[in-house]
């Protein structure tokens, strides 16, 4: 299908919205009626047709507007995109991976023509037609990582691998769930995860690191993570937290349905061929509570997950104060009926709300 790109904003007047298509394919992260940390890694080799898992780099109706939002963030704060000097080769690896993947997966939107190192890249949604020399930085307006990630949804963190460890040595981070690339750059896997409660003691990070160190070329992996965001604000950065934090207090029982968003990250992991670095795209999807409630199964389940989540996690994810109001709202959509296993909405088979 041809994607109709929304003209929308992720700040100020918040005109962001999901079409019915986008709601149905939303990556709902809960496969059962409760949630606890797990490594929950699986192979990233496609998924059901039309789902966000189908392509290597999902492109959806928010693409063009998200890229405009990224450009705004970078104008205000260039430190959101940084690359330590030894990471340039990994940047070229990433540029190649994204250009090849997008041109193969979305031939109607993207074209890549290669003649030796003379490349021509056409990005139709963004109106770009650019010829350049692969591996020659002087032929691009930005470094290779910045150039391509200004044209790809989601944050990108490029991890160097040495001494049996991953190091966060480059990244493009403008849609993050409250962590700072500028602060964390140069840290190792355990250091940048240090503020996460509970998971260290559970051994989550040790196991995850072991898995990630062994990811091979051509065999990417993926997992989901989630949090909550009031208003469809992509840039929930710590840098700007002194400005957006107050928005959390604007929820009321009347506006919670359209203001409160479930924020889901589709995290994927690809080994890069020349640098042996690992790229870690973190793609953010937002869906308002009221849109989620259009799937009866998701309504029942979200209520149960949020109700039973340990306080420590609700605090870390930043919604402990708003949880009672969320539960008042969500409980209207939970009639106590059982839910089917798995993340899919199962609209045809799940019973309608019985209350």
């Amino acid at each position: 299908m041809t994607i109709q790109f929304n003209d929308e904003s992720f700040r100020d007047d918040y005109t962001f919205h999901n079409s019915d298509w986008a709601i149905k394919r939303f990556p709902f992260p809960f496969h059962e009626d409760s949630y606890m940390y797990s490594v929950n890694m699986e192979q990233h080799k496609g998924g059901p047709e039309g789902s966000v898992y189908e392509m290597r780099f999902d492109v959806d109706e928010h693409y063009v507007s998200e890229m405009k939002d990224r450009a705004l963030v970078l104008d205000q704060d260039p430190l959101r995109c940084q690359s330590l000097p030894h990471m340039t080769l990994a940047g070229w690896d990433l540029l190649e991976l994204i250009m090849v993947s997008k041109s193969e997966d979305y031939p109607d939107l993207f074209e890549l023509h290669r003649n030796g190192n003379q490349w021509r890249w056409i990005n139709k949604p963004m109106g770009i037609d650019h010829s350049f020399t692969f591996m020659d930085e002087t032929t691009l307006p930005y470094g290779p990582m910045e150039y391509i990630t200004r044209q790809a949804q989601g944050d990108f963190v490029v991890l160097d691998q040495r001494d049996e460890m991953l190091w966060m040595d480059a990244g493009m981070v403008t849609t993050q769930a409250d962590w700072s690339l500028d602060f964390d750059i140069g840290m190792n896997f355990f250091e940048w995860h240090a503020p996460v409660p509970k998971a260290h003691e559970m051994g989550i990070f040790k196991r995850a690191l072991k898995f990630l160190l062994n990811i091979q070329q051509g065999a990417p992996a993926r997992r989901l993570n989630w949090t909550m965001t009031v208003n469809p604000l992509l840039d929930t950065s710590p840098e700007n937290y002194h400005q957006w934090g107050i928005q959390k207090t604007t929820l009321t029982p009347e506006n919670i349905g359209h203001k409160q968003h479930l924020r889901v990250e589709l995290q994927t992991f690809f080994r890069l061929p020349r640098s042996n670095a690992l790229v870690f795209p973190i793609r953010c999807y937002l869906c308002s509570f009221q849109d989620l409630m259009t799937a009866p199964k998701w309504g029942r389940r979200l209520h149960r997950v949020i109700r039973d989540l340990p306080d420590e996690l609700a605090t870390y994810k930043g919604f402990i104060d708003n949880r009672p109001m969320m539960l008042d709202y969500l409980s209207q959509f939970d009639d106590g009926l059982p839910t089917s296993a798995g993340v899919w909405p199962d609209l045809e088979t799940e019973p309608p709300l019985a209350k």
Binding site: S180, G186, E191, A194, P238, N240, Y241, H242, G245
Partner: protein, 198 residues
């Protein structure tokens, strides 16, 4: 006693060691304030005869006792910033095998460690020991300004004036902890400041 027992913390916070004299032809010691006591503890005439000692007193009175150790070279600096050019010059000439001793406040040790790593000395050549104030060097995550020697939480950013709480999260690259606006979700609601480890 100038030793402070740090409570258990998250994985990004540095863990400081205890200095011990090592073999080697060249030794560089950088100390501030009560770090002088750690130097006095390990000093022997033989070690100090091969040591360049850089010391920043920060209002303490250890200088005479340190000079009495007869280090090969002794420099007293009024501040870390003032001493920095000299530290860089010394490290420029550093050879493999140089033994580095850093002792005193976290802020000084973290910054000096970066300088040592930048010239390519292995981390195994660096020893550290915390002494004296447990104050922190803080980076404001909002304006990026550094506030030195922060003893209370929350504190006021010396650059942008926001009231920041002290996160345990530590960046070795910045040699600083992270400060985040404490009243972001309720402007003007400021908790009473208390000591960082209270």
């Amino acid at each position: 006693m100038s030793k402070f027992e740090f409570p258990k913390s998250i994985a990004s916070r540095p863990v400081w060691g205890t200095l011990e004299p090592r073999q080697g032809e060249h030794h560089l010691m950088i100390a501030d304030a009560e770090g002088a006591e750690a130097v006095l503890d390990i000093a022997t005439p033989d070690l100090m005869a091969k040591t360049h000692l850089i010391y920043i007193p920060k209002g303490t009175d250890y200088v005479e006792r340190l000079q009495a150790l007869n280090p090969a070279q002794f420099y007293e600096g009024p501040s870390y910033e003032a001493a920095l050019q000299r530290i860089r010059r010394v490290l420029e000439d550093a050879h493999m095998g140089l033994q580095v001793y850093l002792t005193g406040t976290e802020g000084m040790m973290g910054q000096a460690m970066n300088e040592v790593m930048t010239v390519g000395l292995p981390h195994t050549a660096i020893q550290t020991e915390h002494r004296g104030s447990a104050a922190r060097r803080m980076q404001c995550v909002h304006c990026k300004g550094i506030t030195e020697d922060v003893e209370v939480d929350p504190f006021v950013c010396s650059h942008c004036g926001l009231n920041l709480f002290v996160r345990d999260h530590y960046s070795r690259r910045l040699a600083a902890y992270q400060g985040v606006r404490v009243d972001a979700e309720d402007h003007g609601n400021l908790p009473e400041p208390k000591g960082i480890y209270e």
